[in-house]
Every structure is written in structure tokens, then in C-alpha cells.
Subunit: 207 residues, 2 copies
Amino acid sequence: MTGFIEENLSPAQIEQAEALYGPFTQRVRDLVDAAIRTEVDDDVIREVDEQLEKIVARLQERQREGSFGLRHNGETVTRAWGNAVIGLRNALAPPLDVHRDDEGRAFADFTLGAAYEGPPGLVHGGIVSLILDHTVGMVAGSRGKPRMTAYITVKYHQPTPLGDLRVEAWVDRVEGYKTFAVGHIIGPDGVTAEAEGLFIQPRWARD
Amino acid sequence: MTGFIEENLSPAQIEQAEALYGPFTQRVRDLVDAAIRTEVDDDVIREVDEQLEKIVARLQERQREGSFGLRHNGETVTRAWGNAVIGLRNALAPPLDVHRDDEGRAFADFTLGAAYEGPPGLVHGGIVSLILDHTVGMVAGSRGKPRMTAYITVKYHQPTPLGDLRVEAWVDRVEGYKTFAVGHIIGPDGVTAEAEGLFIQPRWARD
């Protein structure tokens, strides 16, 4: 696996990179949103497109081959900055800022705008799945041993409106090499969807 | 539902808008990718950020409130250009260009780059879900009557590598108001994940 990259940045270097790339990526998110919603004249779109062409070329002058991968400092600090759900440098990611309570439950408050739309005004059902998959998988895999996802089932109870939302996830039970984890998304009118996943510890990671 | 917007554009106007916004949105996708992978100096990032700030402000000078919604011409042509999976104007969407064969099976060949990463070099499991949710939901709902998603189960057989992929989906069986639809994603080494969904015709849409 070539995507695990040891960088050994100092805490100060990591903080500096966060301060640079966090706001920059947020700007790219703002552009994604504006590109969907804008109603300016066609000439403005053409002009902006030319400017973006130059900007993209400039950023590509020196860039990593392939994807961002997972950067880490030895065993301790891991930076999944390219991740589609939590990536600090990924404009597709809301990004989810997942917290843990004392019992290992995970939760995040987040906002989904125009870019996450499925049916008009509603979050795409697959985006609901994406958020649940990430959070449920995270609690299942966070006991120091790797877990492979066997399946995830998402039940939809009511539409999820675009806007402010919350996701919660926790381990339901552990049966030998199997971990069952669950979670749900909460909108302004309560739980909109819930997920259950089975995560299996691979043979090579067993004692 | 305020997101269904009748625009009644002529075929020529739709074609013109596609020719303008298709390449423009692809440029924004290129920017999202470059923002993840670039290794240019910090000063270049700061400079580019200032340019982007001006571009975003310009696009926002005139923009739609809220999300893009679903634009249509009477009953016939519908444009889901803001959709998170197929949206022509949504830089988050790969976008999926879904085709149908004579038997109603849906399929799409698509490419996922750095922005769709979960584990290093691999597609995020939730992105696999997102693509399957959309395609399976599409075949279930495409017989002229609305269907609500009750649940979708995704089984993961092997990791899905970033790169060229294919999704296929079809209706497995119909039992009264219930439609069971299935699908899978195919990577270079065969099927990586499969989905089954139950879609129910809502009471208000029954005869």
C-alpha cells in the first residue's frame, strides 16, 4: 500500500499547514457552491473560466501523483486530509468534524448546502449513506484493530432537508471477530435515517 | 415543494447552457483535484486564494437562493443539474452519465479521482454507497410512478480502487407496492460491492 506516507511534521508545521489549507479549501467549497447557484451573464462565466484555467495550471505545476493518501507521524498523528468526508484539503468533504464522548460514541454537527442535493431541497439519499458509512465505520474500527466493512444497511424514515444536521454513531455489540455498529442522522424534525453495519476483523489482524 | 421549477427552455437554449456550464463545472472539478494534490509553495496558495475570493464574489453577485432544485420543461425534459451524483453544474458529481438498455437496466462508466478517496488509494466506502444508491434508486423509480427508498443494503466484497469503474443496476422483482432493485460496482478485478434496495410506492401515488 503506497498511500501511507510518513512525513514526521512537527506539531507547529501541522498547525501551519492547517492554517493555510483549511481556509483555502473552504474557498474552493464556496466556489463549488457558487458555480451551482450563480445566475450571472454567460460572458462572466466564460471570463471566470479563463481565470480558473490559469489557477489550475499554476497549482498543477508541482503536484503529487495520484491521491493524497494518509500522512502520519510514526504511530501517533494521522492526517487524512484527502478524505471524501473529513478531508481538510478535500472540497467535496463538508468536512465532518467528528468528536468522541467518554463512552466512545461519535458525533458531529455539520451543514450540507446546495452541492449535496438529491431531490429538490433535500439531501441526496446517497449522501446520507456516505455520512453514515463514515461515522459508523469509524466507531467500529477505532478500538486499535483494523475492521473491514462487510455490509451496511441504511433505513430511510423521512427526507433529510439541506441545512444543519447531526450524525451520531456507536458500537451496538461485539461478537468475536464481528463488530456491529449503528448510527443515525438527525434533522430539524428528528431522526431521518439510521444505519447498521457489520465490521469484521480480518484474519491477518487476529491474535 | 419549492424546488420544482418550470423554465420551459427551448432545446437550443438547453444545448447552449450545457455547452457553457459543462466545461466550466469540469474546470471547478479540476480545481478541487488540484487543491488536494498540489505541492506548490505556500505563497502561491495564498495568492491563488485571493484570486479565488474575487471569483467567488463575482459569481455570487447574482445567484439563486438555496439549492439548484429540479428544472423542467412542462412534463418532458428535466434538468437535475445540481444533483450530487449526476449534476452537470455540480463539481462534487463525477458526474455519472447513466445509460439504459432495452430491458431497463442502467449502467454508467465513470472515473473517480483523488477527491473520492477513503483508505489510501481506494474509493471511500460511502462513495461506493452513494453511486449505488443513485443508480439503484433510479431503476426502481423509473416506471412512471414515484418510489420512496425504504432501505438500501450495500455488501462490500473487495476494496474499490480509485480509477475507472462501472456501475450496473436493475429491478430484481416487484411485489405489489414494493420494488426490489439491485446493482453492483465493477472494478479492474471484478465486482467490488453490491447493493439491494427496497423502494415503496407512497400511498398518495397509488391508484
